[in-house]
Symmetry: C2
Subunit: 195 residues, 2 copies
DNA sequence: GACGAAATTACACATTGTGCACTTTTCTTG
DNA sequence: CAAGAAAAGTGCACAATGTGTAATTTCGTC
């Protein structure tokens, strides 16, 4: 039952996940800024120093899933049929994530809310998105042959739309499926500039 | 000769400006991460503690002018004639900044380059932009009567375009006027979604 | 089971950011 | 102008962050 990777890597992955969840749980209980790295490390049973071997700080630990999901998004884009136009592929990649997105959308809400309240979290989240924008730009550029600024613009506009959709989604009442809000924002993004 | 505000406020403004310039200068000389808050405070002749009364950290001090310029941009948008469509007003607001933008564009280059290299700077810069996006959204919403997501999308897409333009501008050879690059990106943003 | 690599840990250290009490400077008012 | 109020600057203490380094433990492999 040697599943896909060595025992070592699986333990590391488990620890990372545990750290992420502990960070989330403690932040909900006591507020993000009152949670120390030491407290998180204690909750998982590792040393403070080791925590920093896994994450660059509390923020990264909290946004771990965010990071995972955005990386999955890039993979999905790369897996779209090459003949698809870029913008279509991007939108389709979102729908390809729907199954994995519906379940933990409580987490999405919690994360987004925390990021709104705590500037350091917002900052780190946006920095992560920026790193991802580069990957996404590459994925788009590979698909659309003509070089230039187009891939940059598409990737940036797309990620901006997703960020905006998440933000709108959690202020809405009643709640809609996240994908639905994203579609609305993406439609708006493609048509808002000529009024 | 009591110029526009009390002596107190003018001294504060001068100190803030001096801190900003010292931060920029020291960062260019020794690299951003090797500059301590203490060194900046010493260079200006104030105590470390007082530095934190002016800025929340090195990052804020370095990005001070960025903050100023983006706030000026929002003011410019508010000053555009109300009958102008939102997207037109946004683009015009950029051109209204041209005079104040041409001169210190060396600083713009330096800041942008530093932000690319140092994640903590990028993070804080994006967080600032996010705060500004809210103001910009309001300014747009005041102008365009129909409520909804449109103002959010316009403001976000616009700021994203500016960020992208700055990024493209400093990688280009030969260098063009910044406003020209911004126009190109903004054109692209308004037309890239239907190919 | 033993060896070598990788992970964990303890320790030390420079730095950050903030609360608090105290001093100095500046503004205002009589 | 003098005196007191208000605001800005300072020194000190303290909790917390990150990081280098060297020991120590754990794990994969032979």
């Amino acid at each position: 039952m040697d599943n896909s990777m060595g025992l070592r890597e699986r333990k590391k992955a488990a620890t990372r996940q545990a750290l992420h969840e502990a960070t989330l749980r403690l932040s909900l209980a006591h507020g993000f800024d009152h949670v120390t790295v030491e407290a998180i490390a204690d909750a998982v049973g590792i040393s403070r120093r080791t925590f920093f071997n896994y994450f660059g700080g509390k923020e990264d630990a909290l946004l771990y899933r965010d990071e995972q999901q955005t990386q999955a998004l890039v993979r999905n884009v790369r897996n779209r049929p090459p003949e698809e136009p870029a913008w279509t592929a991007l939108r389709a990649a979102v729908h390809d994530m729907r199954d994995s997105l519906d379940n933990p959308d409580r987490e999405l809400a919690v994360r987004t809310r925390l990021a709104q309240k705590h500037p350091s979290l917002l900052a780190r989240q946006l920095a992560n998105h920026s790193a991802l924008e580069n990957d996404l730009t590459l994925a788009v550029a590979e698909r659309a042959h003509p070089p230039g600024v187009r891939p940059h613009v598409l990737a940036a506009a797309f990620l901006t739309s997703l960020r905006l959709a998440a933000q709108m989604w959690l202020t809405e009442e009643p709640v809609r499926p996240p994908v639905e809000v994203m579609d609305e924002i993406l439609d708006e993004m493609a048509s808002s500039f000529h009024a």
